[in-house]
């Protein structure tokens, strides 16, 4: 019985993250539009966009290889597997032991690796510029992310997300300076990884300011739909990650009853809404920075992650 329940929770969660991902993107766009005094597209517009892209022909560049056609599915799969391993509304995921936080970060790195290769495949200048800059940003963001993981793991004594989440939710943690630093660093990394302002602009059509969008410029039709869905999924993943580690309250424990699952789900959706609105407000209030300012931005995250870790030793038990 417990096994079936766990499997059900795992399956429900996998479907939930995919189902809710376009809605979150729609929400961020809507809030941004309202903040700039536009009416904005309806919340479900991303679903319509995806459906439209799915129906359309794929227009493939003449010298695109098999890699170019396989990458959208690989990227989607790697992101989905990573997202399915982050607790959203319940911690007792059946397969949560498959990968810890370090492996989840690395799964996202795999997705990016293949997407960057696809950017190089057609042999255009835009694909190359996107891939090259994406890898530059990633090589700053990934160490910052891992140092944040170190800080969290040193506090909780584990890199298993469900253990970290339960530890932070327990009453004996209190406020920790290290965790606060790790939170700031993680938010900076999340902004960079999801190609949001000020690092990159998901809505840009000015070629030279694009990073992620330049990399996927040659994609069309169902391939583009898979990549957009994967990008939306990644945003959900990072928001779930931040909420499950830093605001774990309301997440249903592994053996809780049906009622706590329902409240957990509602609380999770509420957290996503708050996170989406906060992201939109942040993006509206800041200007995009030059590409060569991004390393400074991420360097700050790197330093915060390191300081958070070091502070743990200086201030044991503070």
């Amino acid at each position: 019985m417990a096994l079936i329940a766990n499997l059900l929770i795992q399956g429900a969660q996998m479907l939930l993250v995919v189902a809710v991902a376009p809605l979150l993107v729609g929400l961020v766009r809507k809030v941004k539009a309202r903040l700039t005094r536009r009416r904005g597209a309806p919340l479900i517009q991303p679903y319509r966009d995806l459906a439209r892209l799915m129906r359309k022909d794929v227009v493939l560049a003449e010298n695109a290889s098999w890699l170019f056609r396989a990458v959208p599915y690989l990227v989607f799969a790697a992101t989905w597997v990573a997202a399915a391993l982050v607790p959203t509304f319940a911690t007792g995921l059946h397969f949560s032991w498959t990968a810890d936080l370090i492996a989840i970060v690395a799964l996202l790195a795999s997705a990016r690796f293949f997407l960057a290769l696809a950017g190089m495949d057609v042999g255009t200048s835009f694909g190359g510029i996107g891939s090259s800059r994406e890898m530059m940003i990633a090589s700053m963001a990934e160490p910052a992310m891992l140092l944040t993981v170190f800080a969290m793991a040193l506090v909780a004594g584990s890199t298993q997300l469900s253990t970290v989440s339960q530890f932070v939710a327990s009453p004996d943690v209190g406020l920790r300076v290290s965790l606060a630093m790790a939170l700031v660093a993680l938010i900076v990394v999340a902004i960079a990884e999801n190609a949001r302002i000020p690092v990159d602009n998901p809505a840009t059509h000015l070629e030279l300011t694009m990073v992620h969008e330049a990399m996927v410029l040659e994609y069309s039709g169902r391939h583009l739909a898979m990549i957009e869905l994967a990008a939306a999924l990644k945003l959900v993943l990072y928001l779930s990650l931040i909420t499950c580690v830093f605001v774990p309250w309301g997440i249903a424990a592994g053996d809780a009853g049906a009622l706590s699952y329902v409240t957990g789900l509602l609380i999770y959706l509420g957290k996503l809404t708050v996170g989406g609105v906060a992201l939109a407000v942040f993006e509206t209030s800041i200007a995009k920075m030059r590409v060569f300012r991004v390393p400074d931005f991420l360097g700050a995250a790197l330093m915060l992650g390191l300081l958070g870790t070091l502070l743990l030793f200086v201030s044991r038990g503070l």
């Binding site: 022909d57 989607f76 597997v81 492996a103 190089m120 255009t124 530059m136 584990s158 040659e218 030793f313």
Partner: protein
């Protein structure tokens, strides 16, 4: 007895080297020699594996060769079995590759006699159980590989590389010689058993450790002793490069491990930070250089420097944990180091073979002369893709499994009693993470420029797939990368005897874990399951592809590339090796590599071409090697005058030196 059998394998390879001298003019010589070399290497692999998986009994023997009062002591314990497996497996696959690849060699007579001897010498280093045999095999290994580096001796660059290699190899052996001298002590017990039993003062231990870092580190490619490696490894024919990078660096690691972890006895904790920092710095500098290099084989050689750095950092962690009596954590770090050494053998050999295939098909090593090979060489491209994914430490392949273990051992650092180590190790972990991320960037660049995009030269446009032997060898290594990635527990269990023989502790038996999950410490702490990750990715990728094709659209139409409406037919407009590296060169290269960009624009109104140049200085060469070279040159110039004296003056010189020496002796006593 396994040790005799292994010694026979090594001896057969040496004999094969002799036979190759006689055979070298024969038209089928290279096929014969390489095919014959495959057999003893394969047998050595089996011996090594049975030593690890089977009995685990240490066997020793003494051969009546070498020094008359010493003989040649040989010993095959679990640690030696592990490295014998690496040498044997790497040697067997490379020899099989060379059956096909070696045919393209213009002067096989310059490779064939050295090649089997080089393999035999590497095996002998691993088997040696006394200082004399060890140093002799080490030196034979160095000299024969030097001969292999000189294969294309008509190129100036090759001669320069071989010269630098020879000087550095001599320097390394000298350090080892001094280290073993200190180890043996005044009584001169050169058998490893006698050395193990000896007692040493802390100052001696530190000196030996420093000498081992110099000696083994210079062979393995530790910064700043790495300068010869990116010159010499690429200069040799590609299958030899695969051996030098994939296998010989592991033999150097073996030397370090054998002395520091086994012969030396307990080491104080304060030496470990030096090893950790050196390793982490090597990793970052190595991969940053790989990222800037446009010669595909040089870039791979620099990536070897990075991986050696990662392994040394893990060994430093093991030293730190062992000194503080944390055997479980030490076993974790040590297992991670050995696992990564094995993985590096697999993927670096694969990548050098891939580079050899590219070189064969196009005649080009420069990334900017390649491109689009995925269309012309589909199988090679796929196999190299597996290699670059593995080396970039991406799940679910093997490179990630070992890096994951290293990060897990970094996370054990808070339990160390020393505050300085507690602070240093997470920072070093950050550097290792940076190196891993840069490695992904470096390999996207190498693969993207060489194999993807449009061809940048006619040679690349007309490339053809390589022969079946090469493809079979590369497939075997690619399969190894995948298998070690999805069943890391099996590899860890196989390594465990080598770990417990060295540290008296091991990781828990992984095959007992449900679903073949990797659980290095405890389930609540950290787990990773490569098999399930692979399975989930495969399932969700194929399910989503099936669903999209079934329920949405499956239509596809080919059209010219979009490129934002301005497609340019000239392949030069693609991103190349230099342009891909530009962002990271600006961010990190200006400080760490001293690189500088220069743009010369014509004045307004003139139609001349603008010029963009990148200048990079090797700070390590300029800072350390150039002054030493200058000093040696200046001293040689001064002493040159002594060659042209009259006989009278020579006699006077001899007389005065004699008197001087006698004076010194008198004052001394």
């Amino acid at each position: 007895m396994p040790v005799e059998l292994a010694a026979i394998c090594s001896g057969v390879l040496m004999a094969l080297a002799g036979a190759a001298i006689l055979l070298r003019q024969h038209p089928r010589a290279s096929v014969t020699v390489y095919a014959a070399a495959t057999v003893p290497c394969g047998i050595a692999t089996v011996i090594g594996l049975t030593g690890l998986l089977g009995s685990g009994v240490t066997t020793t023997t003494v051969l009546p060769v070498g020094l008359p009062w010493l003989g040649a002591h040989l010993r095959l314990d679990a640690l030696a079995s592990f490295f014998l497996t690496i040498v044997g497996l790497g040697g067997a696959v490379t020899s099989f590759y060379a059956i096909g690849y070696g045919r393209h060699e213009p002067e096989p007579g310059r490779v064939l006699p050295f090649y089997p001897g080089f393999l035999g010498a590497m095996m002998a280093v691993v088997l040696a159980d006394d200082a004399f045999t060890f140093l002799l095999s080490w030196e034979v290994m160095s000299l024969l590989s030097w001969g292999l580096v000189l294969t294309h001796h008509r190129e100036t660059e090759t001669r320069h590389a071989a010269y630098v290699y020879l000087v550095m190899a001599a320097f390394g052996t000298m350090s080892l010689l001094l280290a073993f001298g200190l180890l043996a002590g005044g009584e001169g017990g050169y058998a490893f058993d006698a050395i193990r039993a000896g007692a040493r003062s802390p100052a001696t231990v530190t000196a030996i450790l420093a000498l081992m870092v110099l000696g083994a580190g210079s062979k393995a490619g530790l910064v700043p002793l790495h300068v010869w490696l990116p010159l010499a490894h690429p200069a040799a024919p590609s299958h030899v490069s695969a051996l030098m990078s994939g296998v010989m660096t592991k033999v150097a690691l073996y030397g370090f491990i054998r002395v520091v972890f086994d012969l030396l006895g307990p080491v104080e904790w304060w030496v470990s930070p030096a090893v950790i920092v050196l390793g982490a710095a090597t990793a970052v500098l190595g991969i940053l250089n790989a990222l800037m290099e446009s010669d595909i084989k040089k870039a791979l050689a620099y990536s070897t420097v990075e991986n050696i750095g990662v392994i040394f950092a893990a060994l430093g962690l093991a030293l730190a944990f062992r000194a503080s009596a944390m055997p479980a954590a030490a076993a974790l770090a040590f297992t991670a180091a050995l696992f990564h050494a094995f993985n590096h053998m697999a993927f670096k050999s694969l990548l050098f073979m891939g580079a050899g295939a590219v070189l064969n098909a196009t005649g080009a090593r420069d990334l900017d002369a390649l491109g689009g090979l995925i269309h012309r060489m589909p199988v090679t491209s796929f196999l190299v893709l597996v290699g670059v994914t593995a080396i970039s430490a991406l799940p679910p392949l093997n490179g990630f499994a070992s890096e994951w273990l290293i990060f897990q051992s970094v996370l054990k650092s808070p339990e160390l009693p020393q505050v300085s180590l507690q602070m240093l190790i997470p920072a070093a972990g950050g550097l290792l993470a940076l190196a891993a991320a840069l490695a992904a960037a470096a390999f996207v660049r190498i693969y993207g420029v060489a194999f993807l995009g449009r061809a940048r030269s006619d040679a690349a446009r007309q490339a053809v797939e390589v022969d079946r032997f090469s493809l079979a060898a590369m497939s075997a290594l690619a399969a190894l990368c995948v298998l070690a990635g999805i069943f890391p527990g099996a590899v860890i269990d196989a390594i465990a005897p080598a770990v417990s023989a060295t540290l008296d502790a091991r990781l828990p038996q992984q095959s007992d874990q449900p679903w073949l999950t990797l659980v290095p410490i405890a389930e609540s702490r950290s787990t990773y399951n490569g098999m399930l990750v692979m399975l989930f990715i495969a399932l969700s990728a194929s399910a989503s592809a099936w669903a999209v094709h079934r329920f949405a659209s499956r239509r596809l139409r080919r059209a010219p590339a979009w490129d934002c409406g301005f497609p340019n037919a000239d392949p030069v407009t693609q991103y190349g090796a230099g342009s891909f590296a530009q962002p990271l060169r600006r961010v990190l290269g200006t400080i760490l590599l001293g690189s500088r960009e220069e743009v010369v624009m014509p004045p307004p109104g003139e139609l001349g071409a603008a010029r963009h140049a990148v200048h990079a200085r090797d700070l390590i060469w300029d800072g350390i090697y150039a002054p030493v070279t200058r000093a040696v040159g200046a001293a040689a110039n001064r002493l040159n005058g002594l060659q042209f004296l009259t006989i009278r003056r020579y006699l006077g010189l001899v007389m005065f030196s004699l008197v001087g020496l006698l004076l010194v002796l008198t004052i001394w006593h």
